[in-house]
Amino acid sequence: MNTFETRGDSLSAENFFEVYGFLCKESDYLSQGDYKSWLTLIQPDIHYRIAAPSFLDAVRPRRYGLGNDYYDDDYATLKIRVEQLTTPNYSIAENPLSLLRHFVTNISGSPIESGFEVSSNVLVYRVRSTEPEPAIVAGRRKDILVRTPEGLRLSRREAQLDQVSLRQPNISFFM
């Protein structure tokens, strides 16, 4: 259900390190549960999606409905999620905070007028207080990063989370 495709791999070395630096900073905020700082990296026009895949027959695939999203958020929704996760006693799922680590690889993209179109892979490692065994999910992300006076900001994310039946009780984190 992805609605845009990133084009090619034409980042200069300078562009690559600028994009890489942004994605690393974002990952660090997410891994540390510093969601308020993470929100400062988000543009007000954000469309933030995480979609579930399906296993479909290669010869006769059949899709139906509008899609299957884990997240389909605008800025107002992300802001409420951040308030829920960061206000003491507002969250059960994330109090205590999950131990999270985000690993970002396979970055490619190209410059566009407003900034960059970027693809990356992400691996999220998670341990919750009620579940000592780590849960791992991977995903492919397609982002639009726009250039602002404060630096790059995320204006669009379409991620696919690579698990059809999620082996976790919830997704109370970002990827």
Binding site: I50, A52, S54, F55, L56, D57, R60, P61, R62, R63, Y64, G65, L66, G67, N68, D69, Y70, Y71, D72, D73, D74, A76, T77, I80, R81, E83, Q84, T87, N89, Y90, S91, I92, A93, R128, T130, E131, V164, S165, L166, R167, Q168, P169, N170, I171, S172
Partner: protein
């Protein structure tokens, strides 16, 4: 042997008392014990009507979806004659799972292992053997194992493995009055907004079924903060609404709570005016009375199909949008449950409204939903509190029923028996009472 309900269980009890109706308590073992799990698979899941799919998931002849009922794979398929059937998704030859896609369309079902081919009616069309072997084997093999009965109500396809089960109509009984409020409230009915979302929590399936049967008090404690963040309703107002709203025992194990709008809110607050005119055309006067004053509806169709509908907004500059959620709790083991989660919307709704309702469902009651995420963690925590040696020696508490059980509402207009507060825990506990009767074979 006379054992109390508080003894750890290591085998089937001759006279088990897992749920003590008089004291309003239940053994913690019902949420953790492997023997109880195996017995409920036999006594409840092999005998009851189970939700399979929505008719709009199978619009065309040859369309199928695959499902897991507990640990059994099932294929639900619309035949070339237009009839929906359900089969154990397993080849009659060596047991191979025939269909490994989530959804698709086909003219026949072909086993990936030895190539046996079955018709969409489950009949064996060809066993891939030479004629001299078929002469020995008779016709060459068995047909697919069908579910004993498959039937629909309000677009909802149910199946049962039990050939002696009552009709679906009889099974749903008076709860149909309430199912209509979710699924049969406009002339064209509902459609799914997409395929089911699936996730797993490590706790017993009954915790989900009970929560939606429904647990009133948790709504203030667990969902109070997100209700405040989204709807600006303070926690004490949530408690007040929960205290003043009915818990309904619908019969046959079906139970729910229906939260009332505040008295000063207009009828159908939170619903789309275009759709409200269709509700008025479709629902009975008694149904409309409940629907028009409804804020949040939560219900479990026994054993493991649940419903929730409410209106929420995340952007304070926009009106609340309703979402309609349907789900099943599939037991994978005594302490592990897979949720299958659908969102429904009126077929007649405008495309933009469908999109908004979809987004609202995803943001509230789904794997990433701001309401669901905290419930799942609470149930995992219950599993921790009940699974150990000491955990199995003392009960869980539904004693609020003692204050309410002799005080049913006299002015409630829906079918079944209603109690005047969701804090009564009456409808939630009623699910466990029915569960125990099924486990003992006292009701079919």
């Amino acid at each position: 042997m006379n054992r109390s309900m508080f003894s750890p269980l290591d085998g089937l009890l001759p006279e088990p008392v897992w749920v003590d109706e008089e004291s309003g308590t239940a053994s913690r073992a019902i949420f953790t014990d492997d023997t109880i799990y195996r017995q409920e698979q036999q006594q409840i899941f092999a005998t009851s009507w189970l939700f399979l799919a929505h008719e709009t998931e199978l619009p065309g002849n040859g369309d199928y979806v695959t499902r897991q009922l507990s640990n059994d794979p099932v294929i639900v398929i619309r035949g070339q004659d237009g009839q929906v059937r359900a089969f154990h998704n397993s080849c009659s030859h060596r047991g191979t799972m025939l269909c490994r896609s989530d959804a698709g369309f086909t003219k026949t079902l072909r086993c990936p292992y030895h190539g046996w081919v079955f018709g969409l009616d489950g009949k064996l069309l060809s066993a891939a053997y030479p004629p001299e072997l078929l002469a020995v084997m008779g016709k060459g093999g068995e047909d697919l194992r069908p579910m004993a009965k498959v039937s629909s109500y309000a677009g909802l396809i149910f199946g049962t493995w039990n050939p002696d089960a009552p009709s679906l109509d009889e099974y749903l009984g008076e709860s149909k009055f309430y199912i209509d409020l979710f699924a049969k409230r406009t002339p064209a009915g509902m459609e799914v907004l997409g395929p089911p979302q699936r996730w797993v929590f490590k706790a017993n399936w009954k915790l989900g079924a009970l929560n939606f049967a429904a647990d009133g008090p948790h709504a203030a404690s667990v969902h109070g903060p997100i209700t405040y963040l989204t709807l600006s309703v303070p926690q004490d107002a949530v408690v007040k609404a929960l205290m003043a709203s009915p818990a309904i025992i619908m019969g046959n194990g079906h139970n729910g709570i229906f939260l009332n709008l505040p008295p000063d809110a207009p009828d159908y607050a939170g619903f789309s005016p275009e759709l409200v005119s269709l509700y008025k055309k479709t629902l009975s006067a008694a149904q409309e009375g409940l629907m028009s004053r409804g804020l949040t509806k939560v219900m479990t169709t026994f054993p493991n199909t649940s419903w929730v509908e409410s209106s929420v907004r995340f952007d304070q500059s926009k009106p609340p949008i309703p979402f309609c959620n349907l789900r099943t709790w599939q037991p994978l083991s005594a302490q592990s449950t897979e949720v299958w989660n659908w969102l429904l919307v009126e077929k007649e709704a405008a495309a933009e409204y469908k999109r908004e309702s979809y987004e609202m469902g995803v943001r509230t009651f789904a794997a990433g939903g701001t309401f669901d995420q905290d419930d799942a963690e609470a149930w995992s925590s219950i599993n921790h509190g009940c699974r150990g040696t000491i955990g199995s020696t003392y009960p869980v508490d539904f004693r609020a029923i003692k204050h309410y059980r002799d005080r049913p509402m006299t002015d409630f207009t829906g079918p079944g028996v209603a109690y005047p507060s969701t804090y009564s825990e009456m409808s939630e506990f009623a699910l466990l009472i029915h569960w125990q009767k099924m486990m003992k074979g006292e009701v079919k």
